[in-house]
């Protein structure tokens, strides 16, 4: 029974984690840049959801429709005015720049909302659905949205021009350029979409966790863990990695205690980086 | 000097090198030619220790080097250049040569924290000798990023030489050079061979192949399809078909 509970909760968590990590994976896949500002994106989106909820009582899951486009625009602006200028240099320069952006965002959050914890208490907060084990309604709805997002992404990547262009650039930028795809334009769009996806993740996480300016940090690390597990630029890999982390974390929390829960993502990250940098896909291939 | 036995490399579903066997005599110059994707660079990578063979053996000077790492292979006496030049961009020419002398097969007796000292005998060359031989003496104190492509290729050869290597693998050294530069490069490779070293070169530039090599090995789709004096090999029907396709 406990095992079933771990499995179900783990998968639900994993689904949300996947949405959280897609944006990071997309940006890395297209530009080979690790977006260290990703945590800030999650955090700001979470605060956005909170503000909409606290001020105007808008359900955050609806509020996402406002937050996500804003995130897309901000992402493109960030790319065009800052990232682009360092994209040609050593990869660490872009990473450190984005890290700096993340620091600024955190400071802004402290100034705007102080370090106090904020929560979003949804109306269906305590009701549960019985899936063999009682699962809070909030989690079920959030998981459904995560599933829908994943499905949507899958469709976009398979059937739209944008999706195919992204996959081409991720595979081989030079060949993509030769095939007529403008890599700089794709990069800008990918950065925007990556930020928007991060915003979706942030909103979802905001309904489940306590929000404060340090919100982004642990989730950024978990996002790294997931994309490394997932082979860095493969969307199905990211989903698999997210599910793995979700289940592993839940299991650690249940069998080991809250402290082990946090440790799991770090340990997994270092372990995979060291043992199999290709992530789960490389395990499957060999 | 060098013998590869049934060397094979598979990457997932793709077999890049398929059961290649060959021996290379000391002091010889052999060219490895073949269409793109034939597995030439992969073969080099295996010999140089950058890639582990899926199966097969590499025997150098009587020692089994199969599966050894790149730095171990270098210390055993094999040096290489890269298809796309990879110098140490921010280091000077002189530093390239010094580093190669310190860490290559000639430098193994020097203790770890010694200041950058000059080292001795036995297939090893002095820094200035290497610089003179490769024609880089005038540019010795310039960083690699200021060099032309031709000079970068010279630098890579100088670097490989300076390690004290007895066998040098040259990967498309003539690519992208003008006619004049190609002539100079050919002369340099001849000087290298004249020091008693063995040379194996991958080349697409045919004058280099015919002008330098005593023997040509043709690779196509990972397998050796011809082996002999360059002129004969280039005239053979099988080789023509590999390069040009069916008539």
């Amino acid at each position: 029974m406990l095992f079933l509970q771990v499995l179900i909760y783990g998968v639900i968590l994993g689904g949300v984690y996947a949405v959280m990590a897609y944006g990071l994976g997309l940006i890395y896949g297209v530009m080979r840049i690790v977006n260290l500002a990703h945590g800030a994106v999650l955090m700001l989106a979470a605060y956005g959801a909170f503000v909409l909820y606290a001020r105007w009582h808008i359900n955050p899951l609806l509020g996402a429709f406002a937050i996500v486009p804003v995130a897309y625009v901000l992402g493109r602006l960030l790319y065009r005015h800052l990232v682009l200028r360092v994209a040609a240099g050593p990869p660490m320069a872009a990473m450190l720049l984005l890290f700096g952006v993340g620091l600024c965002a955190r400071n802004l959050a402290y100034l705007a909302w102080t370090g106090d914890d904020r929560t979003i208490a949804l109306s269906y907060g305590l009701s549960t659905i019985d899936l063999g084990v009682p699962v809070p309604m909030t989690r079920v709805i959030v998981f459904a949205i995560a599933l829908a997002t994943t499905a949507g992404l899958f469709l976009v990547f398979r059937f739209t021009h944008f999706g195919r262009a992204v996959r081409a650039v991720a595979r081989d930028p030079i060949a993509a350029e030769l095939a007529g795809i403008s890599v700089p334009a794709m990069s800008a769009r990918a950065f925007g979409v990556g930020t928007a996806l991060g915003a979706v993740g942030g909103v979802l996480l905001a309904t489940l966790y306590v929000i404060n300016p340090e919100f982004g940090g642990p989730f950024l690390l978990k996002s790294f863990c997931i994309i490394v597990l997932g082979g860095m630029d493969s969307m199905p890999g990211i989903l698999a990695g997210a599910l793995t982390l979700g289940v592993a974390e839940t299991a650690a929390g249940v069998y080991g205690g809250a402290a082990w829960q946090d440790l799991v993502s770090f340990l997994l990250l270092v372990l995979i980086l060291v043992a199999r940098p290709g992530g789960l896909p490389s395990l499957v291939r060999s | 000097m060098l013998a590869v036995e049934n060397l094979t490399k598979r990457f997932g579903g793709l077999t890049a090198v398929d059961g290649v066997s060959a021996t290379f005599a000391a002091g010889s110059i052999t060219a490895i030619i073949g269409p793109n994707g034939a597995g030439k660079t992969t073969l080099f990578a295996m010999i140089a220790g950058a890639v582990t063979p899926t199966s097969g053996r590499i025997v150098f000077g009587g020692r089994d080097l199969t599966g050894r790492s790149a730095d171990q292979v270098c210390r055993a006496g094999i040096g290489r250049t890269f298809q796309v030049v990879r110098p140490f961009w921010n280091l000077t020419v002189r530093d390239h040569v010094r580093a190669a002398r310190l860490f290559g097969s000639a430098g193994t007796e020097v203790p770890a924290y010694a200041p950058r000292a000059e080292v001795g005998p036995n297939f090893s060359l002095g820094t200035n000798e290497v610089l003179d031989m490769s024609g880089l003496a005038a540019r010795a104190d310039e960083p690699a990023r200021n060099l032309t492509l031709a000079d970068c290729r010279r630098l890579e050869i100088a670097r490989a030489l300076a390690t004290g290597a007895k066998l040098i693998l040259l990967d498309e050294t003539m690519a992208g050079l003008t006619a004049e530069e190609t002539r100079e490069a050919i002369a340099l490779v001849k000087r290298v061979r004249d020091t008693g070293r063995t040379v194996i070169l991958i080349e697409h530039v045919l004058p280099a192949v015919t002008g330098l090599a005593e023997r040509a090995l043709v690779l196509d789709r990972g397998m050796v399809i011809a082996d002999g004096p360059p002129r004969d090999v280039l005239a053979s029907a099988a080789v023509k078909k590999a390069y040009l396709g069916e008539e």
């Binding site: 690390l221 790294f224 980086l273 | -």
Partner: protein
């Protein structure tokens, strides 16, 4: 910098506390922190600048050194005796995770170090019987502590710079430079890239561990949220970037500037630390990612060319 100027500076630093007297505790406090910063930034640069592997997790070494000293001193070991084991412990810790992680290139190594740094902090929080958990460990107070800490910090800073100088001039330094430029090409000339990088990390770790050791004795208190703080690792990166990566005098310069910046921020913009550091990083990356010393040499070159 001429040898004499350097010697004069060191001598001055040795005698300053005597001149100012033990009452100048603000100065002493600042000086101890500043000298430890100089030592740590210089040590960090051996890995981040010379070896070219940016580490976001150096606080782990600082903390290990601090805790080892705390534990030993509480058990009755004198401070001086506790410093070498602290440094050694940090170096061994560096060997432990450095050996597998240094094989990773660039951004991946950086991410791994974030993981290691944070995992170390969490481990310290959890391992209560040894580390005292979140409440940390207190050390017995000594009367002359600030002065002792000052001279120890000065000695460490000098040692750190001297070590960096030696390494840069040695065979190891040349090997690290080659590895930084191109790992595969370095291996093709016989350099054991992994081992060479690990050596740099161990030396760096030992110095930072010793700094943690001195810090512990100076503060009389170690707790995970302080010594293992991610912000410490970030500070090291900032110091070196500001002052100049991969140079001998860049990190010390950056350390001193950062110290000044910290004080200014604490006095006038206490709630803008993160934002200012962030802006600094952004500006540096946009205009001169290699730091002030590079900027200065660039402008002096163009000035003399004019």
């Amino acid at each position: 910098m001429t040898r004499y100027a350097l010697l004069a500076a060191v001598v001055a630093l040795v005698f300053v506390p005597v001149v100012f007297g033990p009452q100048a505790s603000y100065f002493t406090r600042l000086a101890v922190i500043g000298l430890l910063y100089v030592a740590c930034a210089t040590a960090w640069d051996l890995v981040g600048g010379l070896a070219g592997q940016v580490s976001f997790g150096h606080a782990a070494f600082f903390g290990v050194g601090a805790y080892v000293t705390a534990i030993l001193v509480r058990a009755g070991v004198p401070l001086f005796v506790s410093i070498p084991p602290a440094a050694l412990a940090a170096a061994l810790y560096g060997l432990l995770w450095g050996w597998p992680c240094l094989r990773l290139r660039g951004p991946f190594f950086a991410i791994a170090t974030i993981g290691v740094g944070e995992a170390t902090r969490l481990a310290a929080l959890l391992w209560e019987p040894v580390t005292g958990g979140a409440t940390g460990l207190t050390l017995p107070i000594g009367r002359s502590a600030p002065l002792v800490a000052y001279y120890l910090a000065l000695a460490l800073a000098v040692t750190s710079i001297a070590t960096a100088m030696l390494v840069r001039r040695s065979r190891l330094g040349l090997a690290l430079a080659c590895v930084r430029e191109d790992v595969d090409a370095a291996e093709s000339i016989g350099i054991r890239s992994g081992w060479v990088q690990v050596q740099a990390l161990m030396i760096s770790a030992a110095i930072v561990g010793a700094a943690g050791s001195i810090y512990a004795r100076y503060l009389f208190y170690v707790e995970p949220g302080d010594v293992f703080a991610f912000n410490r690792s970030i500070a090291l990166i900032l110091m070196t970037i500001i002052g100049g990566v991969n140079s001998l005098w860049g990190p010390p310069l950056g350390a001193v500037l950062f110290l000044g910046l910290e004080q200014v921020l604490a006095a006038w913009f206490p709630s803008a630390h993160l934002g200012i550091y962030g802006l600094l990083l952004i500006i540096m990356m946009l205009f001169e990612p290699r730091g002030l010393t590079c900027l200065l040499s660039r402008t002096s070159r163009s000035a003399s060319a004019a």
